[in-house]
Symmetry: C2
Subunit: 603 residues, 2 copies
């Protein structure tokens, strides 16, 4: 099973729009913000106490993710300006890398004596992101300088953590280097990187590994159990996703069934018990973490953009690792991409959400707290940069490598998998597949393939039609080579939640195809008084809005005030029929600050 974004050319539709927006706006916007905040200059490692823009210990990773995104762009086009920005950073890395191979902005200039002294100071995480960028840059451009520098760094890390064991901890506090080392291994073919990746994975949560006390709890950093015994998702959701992605890589590499089973359990635990309808994961700001099953509050949802992107990494890898080729992994990728991940980026491509709540009642957020303190809620407008700005460059690298998620080639079955629906061409030199579609504007998908192919049958789709014979297996429709036109039923419908999700009882959300909808105050006043008309469930009108995407108009009711005076009165209800305008969830907060709700009452 192989995926390779370089074999995929996007030609139109939602994926292409986002790829283009990233290229035209986001890539430069993120670089400029990083330059303004001192992150780029920090790579020259001449910061001294008293100077502005003191580096932070996660800055390497912010810039490395941007470099990785730039590399993907450079694989498709020449851009000397862009390339020179990357080369400049590589120059600085080369210049400031230690003789021993060590490189980290923060510890080089701010706390040189603290190198590898604290498990939670993100050094291995930063190293991982630099390695991913180096691999991407080499694969995109053929230029291997950065890769060689990072090989040297990886060798040094191997020395410190395996041969000398001189650090006071054994595994990273924030996982990432595991999957980076796997990329180093697949890129260079050197098994020492696979061995080091295995080392970090296998030592995690071992009883003789005293790393449990970080942030007061081992579960925070997924160090509570050895990896094969981890069956429930716990702790910091981004760390969890990166770890699970690395576990899936190792399971694919080694065919380890026990490890694959752990990955499947973790995937099920997340998607069946701990995921918002938008794909958002990690429901609390406390520790940016998973909580208990079904604990999915809407107004305080943390649901970090990076966690949704991490879920795409994990699902993408698990699809490749799991020989059942189950469609649930790609269903999850689709859900994230159209909703919880892409909501992290404003429609103009310049602003970002770190958190992606499912409900905003501004009055609640504007509680007049007499102390001037406020209860903590996610912010309601996307800023251009954050102090902890991990999400923006994660979006950059995601949107520059979307081909990774759209197709895959399975050598054992000699089959191309069409995993996501996008106007595009797949060409790996041996096989060519063309997909024509306006999806998700409509559900008609025309496929032309010179080899056998499989097409995902999305679980949200209640009627999947094809004008050719196919064999359905684990959510994929298998076709012989040739031409086929598919029609996916995109009728919008109300979706309900399992009753354990206490805050959703009596409420429902609209979904059309993979897209989850929300109501905004800017379109509908007092959204808390709106009820969907459940008898008109499947009668919504879909209409394209140039800014927001496909919007819905649905029948509903507005509840009228019946309490004449004061706060409470014997029950009496009055409703007026009305139309409710819904927009794609990911398009919320693009027209000023507004109330917003994914779930409304229904009657």
């Amino acid at each position: 099973m192989k995926t390779n974004y370089r074999n995929v050319t996007l030609l139109g539709g939602f994926f292409k729009e986002k790829e283009d927006l990233n290229r035209a706006v986001t890539l430069d916007a993120v670089y400029d913000r990083f330059a303004e905040s001192g992150r780029i200059a920090a790579f020259s490692c001449n910061w001294k106490e008293g100077m502005p823009n003191r580096p932070h210990f996660f800055w390497d990773s912010d810039v490395a993710k941007w470099m990785e995104g730039a590399a993907y762009v450079l694989s498709r086009e020449q851009d000397t300006d862009l390339q020179s920005k990357v080369e400049h950073l590589i120059d600085e890395i080369e210049k400031n890398q230690g003789e021993d191979g060590y490189f980290n902005i923060y510890f080089t200039v701010c706390e040189p004596d603290k190198r590898f002294s604290n498990r939670d100071w993100h050094e291995l995480y930063c190293a991982g992101h630099l390695m991913e960028a180096a691999v991407a840059y080499y694969e995109a451009t053929g230029r291997d300088r950065f890769l060689r520098l990072m090989e040297k760094y990886a060798d040094y890390i191997e020395k410190v953590f395996v041969r000398e064991k001189s650090a006071p901890y054994e595994t990273p506090g924030h996982e990432e280097i595991e999957l980076a080392l796997y990329r180093m291994y697949t890129c260079t073919g050197k098994t020492k990187y696979l061995d080091l990746m295995k080392h970090f994975l296998e030592r995690r949560g071992q009883e003789d590994n005293h790393e449990a006390q970080i942030f007061h709890a081992a579960r925070y950093a997924q160090s509570h159990l050895p990896i094969r015994r981890q069956k429930e998702a716990f702790g910091h959701s981004v760390r969890a996703m990166y770890l699970y992605a690395g576990m899936a890589d190792l399971a694919r590499e080694t065919g380890d069934r026990e490890l694959l089973d752990a990955c499947r359990s973790l995937f099920d635990d997340v998607t069946k018990k701990k995921m918002y309808i938008t794909g958002g994961i990690g429901s609390t700001c406390m520790g940016e973490a998973f909580t208990a099953a079904y604990d999915l509050p809407n107004n305080t949802a943390y649901t970090e953009t990076c966690a949704s992107i991490g879920m795409m990494f994990f699902a993408n890898r698990l699809f490749q690792a799991d020989p059942t080729r189950d469609s649930r992994y790609d269903d999850a990728v689709e859900l994230e991409f159209f909703n919880g991940a892409i909501s992290g980026l404003s429609l103009d491509g310049e602003c970002f959400f770190y958190e992606n709540p499912l409900e905003i009642y501004l009055a609640e957020r504007r509680r007049i707290i007499s102390t001037n303190d406020r209860e903590r809620f996610p912010i309601t407008q996307r800023p251009k940069i954050f102090g902890c700005s991990c999400c923006p460059p994660n979006i950059v690298r995601l949107l520059a490598s979307l081909g990774e998620y759209i197709y895959a080639y399975d050598e054992t079955r000699d089959t191309v998998y069409i995993r996501q629906f996008a106007e595009s061409v797949y060409n790996d030199g041996k096989h060519t597949v063309k997909v024509q579609t306006a999806y998700p504007e409509d559900g008609v998908i025309r496929i032309e393939s010179d080899c056998a192919f499989a097409v995902r049958m999305p679980k949200w789709c209640q009627a999947f039609k094809a004008d050719a014979l196919y064999r359905a297996e684990n959510g994929y429709a298998y076709f012989e080579k040739g031409t086929v036109t598919l029609t996916l039923d995109m009728t919008p419908c109300l979706v309900t939640s399992r009753l354990g999700v206490v805050r959703n009882i009596g409420k429902a959300a609209y979904r059309r195809g993979p897209i989850v909808y929300c109501a905004e105050g800017v379109d509908n006043q007092d959204i808390q008084t709106l009820y969907f008309d459940k008898t008109a469930n499947r009668a919504a009108t879909a209409m394209k809005d140039d800014l927001l995407g496909i919007c819905l108009t649905v029948k509903g009711y507005r509840r009228l005030e019946t309490v004449a005076d004061g706060l409470y009165a014997p029950l009496d209800e009055a409703f007026a029929p009305c139309e409710i305008r819904l927009i794609p969830y990911a398009s919320f907060a693009n027209r000023g600050e507004s109330d917003m709700a994914v779930y409304l009452m229904y009657r």
Copy 2:
């Protein structure tokens, strides 16, 4: 207009039960906990650094409130043991009071050089509670030693704050002394205490009074405006209530219309915009404070017991101050007493709630936060004492002086007001009124009076019947002297909230007479899946439970799970008819930890 608890003898019913429980259990339980925690011994002022039980700057007030409660008890009966406990405390106060009149446990032994240096260190608040206790003890027993000590203290305070102005602030951070000084004035007849009360009230929120910065915001301590311009309730809810009670006292004393109008506006703002259906006020733990209008979250409701008791103080005083004799004040007293205030005491009389939430979903509160931190929710079981244990002795003094709220005599109208319904006798030496009733078990009230009398017509009551002629005015029914039997319609019914209360839309609560109900998990599994049957709204069955009071059985439905797998599915609903058992809200959390909700869905 006069109220005097000593003119009232409770003979039976809910008020009497609580008075007896307090006498038999709570009074001693609070004293014992205060003794165990060092609060009693602290009055000997021999604590030194290194010793256990370091005094806290609010300890004087805790014990003073208990002394006030003990005084009320001693007005009704001889109890040499109880009296000697109070006398012992007075001995210690006398022994340790400064030559200048100053008395405070904490500042005497812990920080003697910090006397009156920080507005928020509760010294004037503690002084006020000691004064209230001294007045109560003198009026109950005729023993004036404590009162004389407190007069000396009040004189010293007058010197510091009025004559010398030597403190770095002008008015108390936590109001209380205002209403205490009014009691000192009415008890002794000395106008200097009225003057000092006026001083503290009138200086509050004056532009040349730089006290705004306490706790970062003037509104926290109601110092944002002069008292007559305060029309909306802000800040710490207990502080607010004590201030407004003092304002009402001053309005009564002086007939100041502008001040009375401010009190009325504040009362309306609280009861019509910021009060839970249970009477709970102060919806956020942040600053224990009021927030915005209609911001009444159920699960995180702070709703301090002291705030509800404070609301009873304010309403009781405002009833007396407002010549309209409007029943809304006594409606508020009744609501608080049967619900949000009394819920602060366990049914066994030994345990207390500081916060009184309207909804408990244990799963939500048990969120597995990987950091081992938890999001903040109110506790779910009543403990025997708190570090900040203001509520328990507030309950003690309330329950020992209930007669204060039940009757009042208006000299100008020569009318006895029957404000609350309790089996009782009123006798002020001139007039006698007898009330026979099983209220709130039923709504039949038999009254025998040797003078004209007025009976409250509760706003919750949809049918008020009397077997004699009466004149209705502002919610009171005015009768000539004689005998009358009233019948109040106590039919339970569903109550809805104004739509601005976002969290209550689509939900309703049951109320029977003044009593608000809740569902507990111990009686009904998975209460979040229960729906009331709105067509059976007025068909609830009421039945007495010896522990819990009058309970209700109502028709409803249980929503059945329709999501076969995972978290989300197209809307499909299934319900099974069921019975829902409801208990009085104030009786919740008396049978172990349990889910609880005042509001349920309905259909």
